[in-house]
Point group: D2
Chain length 417, copies 4
């Protein structure tokens, strides 16, 4: 028996932080659960690897990394006399470990197609509740913290806020694996600078430059990695592939796909359906059976499908012959768009209802500082809290305005002259 | 036109080396080829990620990294007045870029099941010849070098020898992504120490300590990563899954699988078949359509297959509930093995011909220094070459003897008392 | 003979960049010169090591590092078809190698005491001209570039501007050795993004986020390292020590010091004296004989000097018992200052003219973006240049305003109540 | 009062490990002591910076780093149920912090000249006892551990043995700052693998490859850094400079030097003198007043000394115009040596008793594995301990034999033909 206890105190090798040791039984057991193991097969950055070949790290590693930082944060806060009981510490660790459990493969694309209208946060909560039942209510406090339903608000803020352990880990990890070294953030120092005032998470005054740099690094990661135009076009193409596949299934065409993916292509599913027990458990079963491999393997099969829209887009993704994407500060004019679509139709011999898969527009936005999702509070020497935008020389108010860029995508082989 | 030329001089972000720039058109075009793009979907270390969650890097990154080191080696040798023409430089770069092109998903497992008897080296050559046709014989010199069929032997040795760029990259890269920092090798210094004497690749005298450390680091990586017992058991289980699947297909049972995998499960294929044009092109077509996602997605489907051997092993891999593995210096005695098998049969209610999937033995070996695959030559101050084993204080002759360890695997739930 | 040539192509080990190879004879010979070797004994960050124990790197390493980046910049610009002749390349390399040759030990303190009114830039030029004579005018072009007296302005800007190789290296290096990892800048990427338009150094549009991050990292390094309050108080104390020593020497008191330091304590020296040949060569001789060891060793001796001001301050520096420093947004009020001085006088039994060595005030400023020293130009897609402050979402105009902070220093043992 | 306690829990920035926090008052107070602060001015690697420009790190940083690793080791051992009381933990931390307190500037050279016959270990103990008096016997347990006079032998072994925290830190740190990346050791993993059996420090079986790699990396660091031939010649020249200075002082010549150095040049001092209280305290006072700056500053002054031996060698060190050194497996033959000396005498016009300063021979040795200073014990699965040389496939017995190399030094300008 004793031996088994020891076994649960495992040490993991993490390229980013070195050794990470698991320090409680329930954490170990949650990691062993198929819901969590499945995150090993879901890439953190979806299709970003089309631009950054090293960015193959998974949601599994990220969740473990965030857990590691959470423990550092707890230690640091406790050193500053912030009271965190052992139960609260375990609960907030569980909350961060599971905060992304509801992600599916290529989440952004999926959320707009297969589980339309259901965010990964909703799904995370759904799965946490399911796990809570399986684990005999041991996750109740973690869920309260996750839902921001617990008096010590700072615990929730460690899980979800502008300076949460989620961001601390993903920025550093994504920077590490993409090789975009400038995106590196000083998570160590920021964590050492965290404090609590009136149950709110705040940053000690002298941490202000680290927070500024964190925000600017985050901004850089957005434009350089997450919103890289080649990543954007790949993700939109994946959305179109899944939409087309759904349409074909609806029309009764046969499509190769593993069972769970097939089920999701066949079923329309909305937020309302979650209140119907049967539908919910069907969704959970099929959703948690899915991972990157199902999508990739199916798309490869679809390269040979007789539907030329499906096969064109599938081949484009598989062989990395993506559509061309042009990004600009303003959207393409209507006339221009009509003209390009006409050329596409003529030159490629498309049907009218096929054009939208080959020529499409969209926009991307990025806030460096999300004033609405809770400001960052700085703790002054006199123990008062000030909003970052008032404490810093950098004009974060200006930066909190969304920056929006517009793009148009079309086949490279199109002759626009 | 000019613009297109510029586009082929791409810069890639590599987490290990930073920026890598592609400096020739044909290199760019080869990377764009579907055979090569496919390497993006094949993990370099197969199932090692069951132990090292960060080890998700792909054969794509490795091939590019080895190319990068090759260019460093060429620069360094040219600085030492070693003559390498521009054509030779390009050819040896192509050779290293494509040296692993013949790898399939989970290569070790595959080579023992689906393409039994055909090594990835054979397949690499096969695909290089295919590409040579497509690229109008531009790869001929590269192929000669790859086959060691070119007078300047050192060029081949840069591609395949104990100090080749393949190893330089994979040791450093695998160490980086697994987080086993001690495996890090000083590839920079070793490359700076390379020299050529009588057309053979040699190491300058003062590089001897770096080479020693390289060999010991390699040894460490073998035991710590490549031959980690948990990785071994996972790989063996994968072999058994594929064998079982083949058997079921042979018996006429239906098995979910994407077309190329299905084809490979249905066809027995040997080295001889490569001389028959039709069979060869069938193999190439199906083989190059395969990647990790097909295997993973299929195994997930097989978790629900009525054959309990297949489903047991599949679930074990998917949910990481692996068999127990015990490693020792000596093999388990026959009596002991018989006894364990009997217990497995009784306790798990197995049929006789099913036992071998649940209880099996094997051995793993590791040479630190492969004297037979060509010794490492040290260039003395007086310009004579000495074998490393005579130049070093470390007894590499002793180390060149294979170290063999023996293991037995069986279900964790088995009660051995 | 040939052998000697080879010897000048040396390879240096740099902890920041790895191997750095010297690629020309004159570069090697300049590094060998005593003026340059002397930089080995001058710390890059002077007294910053009182806060950051790892910050012991020298001006020698920095100059070599900046040379290394200069060569990367030249390569990158040439790839973009910017014309740089071999002579220009060598000259700009010499210019960056020698840009800091005029630094003395603890430069900031020295410039305010021993060589009052003569900046290190003036001294650098002085020494470069001296070297030019010794090297038979081989440095003439380098000097023109250094003085911004050469038509291709971008060459000067690579040596001295907001994005020069000096800053690229020192920020990265200071961040590395201080351990303030957040200060790391992506010098690789910025260098890759440099371009030339109308003979001016510009940054390609897509490098804008890297430049933003560079500026914010620089700002962080200023507040966190260069202007760290403990570093400030140590530097001011050093200034006071040297001032006091000068005063004592003037009064005829004996002071231990190595000859060159003694000479400098004895001679008042101003910018005008540089036009008098004898005085100039005296200054050069004594100045280039000085390094950190003379200052440190003398201050240690002065710990036992009968003058209690000198010995108090010397002991404080040597044993790191620094004065207390308080920093605030506003200066201490006159009344408050008078009061503190009175207390110091009474409690410590000081003479009136001694008080200023124990209680003093000052201010520190920091511009993140120095609009006056030449704006950073961004090259738009349409090949027009825009000032960074107009191209970026960050309000650099606001940031270009100096941030000024005020401090007061006084002995820790003072009872202010 | 409370505030002051908090102040002693300081956080230091270390480029190697990141943040290091000091966790006890006495540790803080010891670091504040002038004996310890003095280590800030003593380079860890003495003259190695003539070859590795980045190797300017100090004994201060090393001692703090070793303390940091000691705390990791204590944590790791306690997790394995090894009993270490809080008092023992603090004592072993003090012991490692002060283990090198007896080092003077350029220790190796000094020990052979100024404090001939007194090792730094003896001096460390001397200073620790002095501190013990000042700190009211709070260091008694630390001293017992340091002297291996405490029953739990493993505590001493953590401070001084083949796997002590001293080596763990210095190898990693020296590798970091010299830029010899291959010397990096996996201190994290080795520390995690430490265990205790029968009060002896042992290594868990699965740590064997890490230990092997540690020993080979250590060996590499010896030949590449510590015993680099250019470092050797510089150190020998420093010894000769100090010997010559002593001789001149004895002859009554005037020599510039700070007081403590002057005192040491004037006094012959041996191990026996340590038992005479007055002599001992004189030595302590002068020795602890010395640091690198005194030696360097004096040698610079000596460049102009009329004694041509002293000035020749001094200039050679200052301007890095070192003697030539040739290293070989065998010593130079007597006839050859006589001949070279004769040439030196004739060509350089030396007096007979001056020759030995210009032409000299010597030898360097290196053990990879010091069997005599206690073998490394491996803990087998069956909880028995085996010597590493019996547990490893690498022949450490062979490697434990000293490797000896011989060298001869002479002026570069000598014409040997």
């Amino acid at each position: 028996m004793a031996r088994q206890l020891v076994n649960k105190r495992k040490i993991l090798n993490d390229p980013v932080y070195g050794f990470i040791s698991l320090q409680s039984d329930i954490i170990f057991d949650l990691i062993e659960h198929p819901y969590f193991q499945r995150l090993r097969r879901i890439k953190q950055l979806g299709l970003s690897c089309v631009v950054y070949p090293g960015a193959n790290h998974t949601r599994f590693e990220h969740a473990i990394g965030a857990l590691h930082l959470m423990r550092q944060a707890i230690d640091s806060l406790r050193m500053k006399q912030v009271e965190i009981s052992d139960e609260e510490a375990e609960a907030v660790c569980i909350a961060i470990l599971l905060h992304d459990i509801g992600h599916g493969p290529f989440s952004h694309a999926l959320e707009q197609t297969l589980v339309q209208g259901i965010t990964h946060e909703t799904l995370s909560l759904l799965l946490m509740e399911q796990l809570n039942t399986e684990f005999h209510q041991q996750l109740s406090l973690a869920i309260r913290i996750f839902k921001n339903d617990y008096p010590k608000k700072f615990l929730h803020q460690l899980v979800a806020s502008q300076l949460d352990m989620d961001r601390m880990d993903y920025l550093r990890r994504d920077s590490f694996f993409s090789g975009v070294v400038e995106g590196t953030i000083g998570s160590d120092r920021i964590i050492k600078m965290l404090n609590v005032c009136d149950n709110q998470l705040v940053v000690d005054r002298k941490g202000i430059y680290s927070v500024e740099k964190f925000l600017v690094a985050r901004r850089l990661m957005y434009w350089q990695v997450y919103l890289h135009k080649t990543v954007i076009v790949a993700e939109y193409m994946l959305i179109l592939i899944l939409e087309r596949a759904k349409l074909l299934v609806k029309k009764g065409e046969t499509l190769f796909a593993p069972e769970p993916l097939k089920w999701m292509l066949q079923h329309q599913f909305g937020l309302d359906d979650l209140s119907i027990t049967d539908k919910k458990s069907n969704l959970i079963e099929n959703f948690t059976a899915l991972d990157d491999s199902d999508i990739l393997s199916s798309i490869k099969s679809w390269c040979k499908h007789p539907d030329r829209v499906l096969s064109y887009l599938s081949k484009a993704i598989v062989n990395r012959k993506l559509l061309k994407i042009s990004v600009a500060d303003r959207p393409v004019s209507k006339t221009q768009l009509v003209e390009i679509k006409k050329k596409a139709k003529d030159q490629l011999g498309l049907k009218t209802n096929e054009i939208k898969y080959f020529v499409f527009t969209g926009s991307i936005t990025n806030h460096i500082y999300e004033a609405d999702s809770g400001t960052i509070k700085i703790l002054s020497k006199s123990n008062e809290t000030i909003d970052l935008e008032n404490a810093s020389d950098i004009d974060f108010k200006r930066l909190s305005k969304a920056v929006r860029k517009h793009f148009i995508c079309y086949p490279k082989e199109l002759d626009l002259n």
